[in-house]
């Protein structure tokens, strides 16, 4: 079973993420994660396309856990989000 830390490393590596936040929202069972990913692989991609990229790269992990929720930002969008 994957831990939040491991998942974070995988996201950074596979999705070339500049920033990745992984929260275990399972309440203990380790089967449910909420992730936030900042990466320029999302540039000029709509939400559906972004989620598909993440789903593809993390396919094995997502299929092994119960729930997975994601937020995706490009580096620029993330900067904007922070300046607000």
């Amino acid at each position: 079973m994957v831990s939040a830390e491991e998942l974070k490393d995988i996201i950074i590596e596979k999705l070339k993420a500049q920033e990745a936040q992984v929260h275990d929202i399972s309440g203990g069972c380790g089967q449910s994660f909420s992730v936030l990913i900042v990466s320029d692989v999302f540039v000029k991609k709509n939400k559906l396309a972004r989620h598909r990229i993440v789903n593809t790269e993390l396919k094995d992990i997502i299929s092994s856990i119960h729930a997975f929720t994601q937020k995706t930002y490009t580096v620029e969008e993330w900067a904007k989000e922070h300046s607000n």
Partner: protein, 195 residues
């Protein structure tokens, strides 16, 4: 290889509980799969509906030659707005499905144009829909036969107003105010005053 399955004209629609309009739009996938009613208890609750979506029973699209994919293809197009979820609109069995159905309800999706399918009712559907949409999680929303996304996407589209815009554009919303008193001018109001 392809069994011909026409959608029956009667719809499995559970109208028993309906404060929130959208809740009445649960359909049983087994009906599509089996081409008929299989559950007597549910059958007794069936109400005939105007056959708006009848003529798509045989799709010209080609799916990976399984019956399941054909059935899912029919389910996806069985209404303009289709949600594959865990549990039913009345009793969602997962927080993500609950959040999504509540969003659709609060945005005012017209129940006549909505269908929900419970993937927990059918394990083949549960696995099949993931493959069909190439999407690993439930719920999954389809609008006009096109995959829109899961809970995260629907939520973010609701926040940005995109969801409302998309559904409004296609006339898929219902407005509660419609049934309220609308002051229509009576004929005397529009006549010029007699002199």
């Amino acid at each position: 290889m392809f069994s011909r399955q026409l959608l029956n004209s009667s719809r499995l629609i559970n109208r028993s509980v309906s404060t929130q309009a959208i809740r009445c739009s649960f359909r049983s996938f087994s009906m599509i799969r089996n081409g008929g009613l299989t559950n007597n208890k549910l059958a007794s609750e069936v109400q005939n509906r105007s056959p708006l979506y009848l003529n798509h029973g045989i799709s010209t699209r080609r799916f990976l030659s399984t019956e399941m994919q054909q059935s899912i293809g029919e389910a996806v197009k069985s209404a303009p707005v289709v949600l594959f979820m865990k549990g039913t609109p009345e009793a969602p069995a997962c927080g993500f499905s609950r959040a999504t159905i509540q969003l659709l309800g609060s945005i005012g999706v017209n129940p006549d144009k909505f269908a929900a399918y419970n993937v927990l009712e059918d394990n083949e559907l549960r696995q099949g829909i993931k493959e069909f949409s190439d999407w690993p999680t439930i719920p999954q929303l389809y609008v006009n036969g096109e995959f829109v996304g899961g809970c995260d996407i629907v939520t973010s589209m609701a926040q940005s107003g995109e969801l409302l815009e998309m559904l409004e554009k296609d006339g898929l919303l219902v407005y509660e105010e419609e049934e309220a008193d609308i002051e229509t001018p009576t004929s005397s109001d529009v006549k010029p005053a007699k002199r």
